[in-house]
Symmetry: C2
Subunit: 255 residues, 2 copies
């Protein structure tokens, strides 16, 4: 209908649309989405992130713009907030007068919010649109998968535990069912190295990323260590300062 035509028009200036999905919460989806966007921007690309997590938006905080607001221009276009790094950000949190309040919505409203973002936002000329999907295979992921024309693909993020593997596998099957190409798998928080004595620990298990990539016949993009400097940088909105801790992010860009 009219909405789809509008989305098609808005998306016509966006070259690549990448979804970051995991199914399981807390594996580092927002971390990978934000790191990917920052690495692309560093290489001179025009980049925006859509925070599709309606209940737990964390992209504004990670990008250092918590408390900022999105505005509507006289023509009725929704304008992204440009973060200090130059990456444009769209998030439900940037529309709220009080970002502390929970968004207590049932499915239909969440689907509506996502389609409003895709049809009303003036994205401008973009090389990459990165979409940070929430945990689960519900309304938000379905709306993105069903109404976004020619999604370039999805990067799947997993943690090393069997528990994560089981839930993340469901996200892979979800992509297959919706015809979304899986660009590869990233394993996050793979190991921790003690700064004092150098001993390395696999805190959550091991080998899940690689074995899943084999099982699904997709590329294993690599693993990222668990490093307290990453969590600290995310809490401070300074992820651009620790990008070198996850070299595989830049590698996955060339996909």
């Amino acid at each position: 209908e009219a909405m789809r035509a509008m989305i098609k028009k808005r998306m016509s200036n966006v070259r690549h649309k990448l979804a970051i999905i995991s199914g399981k919460g807390g594996v580092g989806k927002s971390f990978v989405a934000a790191s990917l966007a920052l690495s692309l921007k560093k290489r001179g690309r025009e980049v925006a992130i859509l925070d599709a997590d309606i209940h737990g938006p964390s992209i504004p905080k990670i990008m250092g713009i918590r408390g900022a607001s999105m505005y509507v221009n006289p023509q009725g276009d929704l304008l992204p907030v440009i973060s200090p790094s130059g990456v444009a950000v769209i998030s439900i949190e940037l529309l709220m007068t009080n970002p502390d309040l929970p968004v207590i919505w049932r499915g239909p409203l969440k689907g509506r919010a996502i389609s409003e973002f895709l049809s009303k936002v003036s994205w401008g000329e973009l090389d990459y649109l990165i979409i940070d999907l929430p945990p689960g295979t519900g309304d938000e992921a379905l709306t993105v998968g069903q109404i976004l024309p020619d999604l370039s693909g999805a990067i799947i993020v997993t943690a090393p535990s069997d528990l994560s593997k089981i839930v993340v596998k469901k996200a892979a099957i979800f992509c297959r069912e919706l015809g979304i190409r899986i660009l590869g798998i990233v394993e996050n928080m793979s190991e921790f190295t003690c700064p004092r004595c150098g001993a390395t620990y696999k805190l959550f298990g091991s080998g899940v990323g690689e074995s899943m990539a084999k099982e699904l016949g997709v590329e294993f993009l690599g693993s990222i260590p668990l490093d307290p400097r990453i969590s600290e940088a995310m809490d401070r909105g300074e992820l651009h300062k620790v990008l070198e801790l996850s070299p595989i992010i830049a590698k996955s860009i060339t996909k």
Copy 2:
């Protein structure tokens, strides 16, 4: 309507109903829910867990019964699966012929599934019903909060990062809005101690659980260390073997 009357009848033999909530995924909600249920069972109580995470059910795996099935008796009651520890388990995964497949449902179906569980399951005489809620403040949490009569309260689980704190705070406000009593806050994965050299690291930040408890005027139940033996035990369905690693769980039981 008829559904509510049915739920009231089913719940009349259940003494305490506790919800385990966090808002943010991956902080250890399922770990706390399962540990609480196992600790209560060890003290001779009759306990059941309702896995309300429709998209990412992990309770069957944690309780060692992945692949089992729930059945319906001749009177049409849905029967829980009794895990090796004696804790009864209800989960969408126990109704699926292939537990690997994703549940790709929009909000209304998820709300329906939760109310079906609460009205069709023959819970028997229970001292405690523990409800493991999924991340977010959407359909599943709303349905539980709105249709479960006299919920005894909710335990909030957070990880030590600011990022978790922001999303978890939304869950606390959600509880307040629905009139659900907050029994206390548990901080999980607070620190890791290197087994080789004894150095302790706050991998995700610190002090969030305590400061949130103060902010909300609720009890801080304590913190649980990040220990690879916990993740291993969860992946093997042997959490009962490592209960002593989180002594605060038993403490929160007396609430």
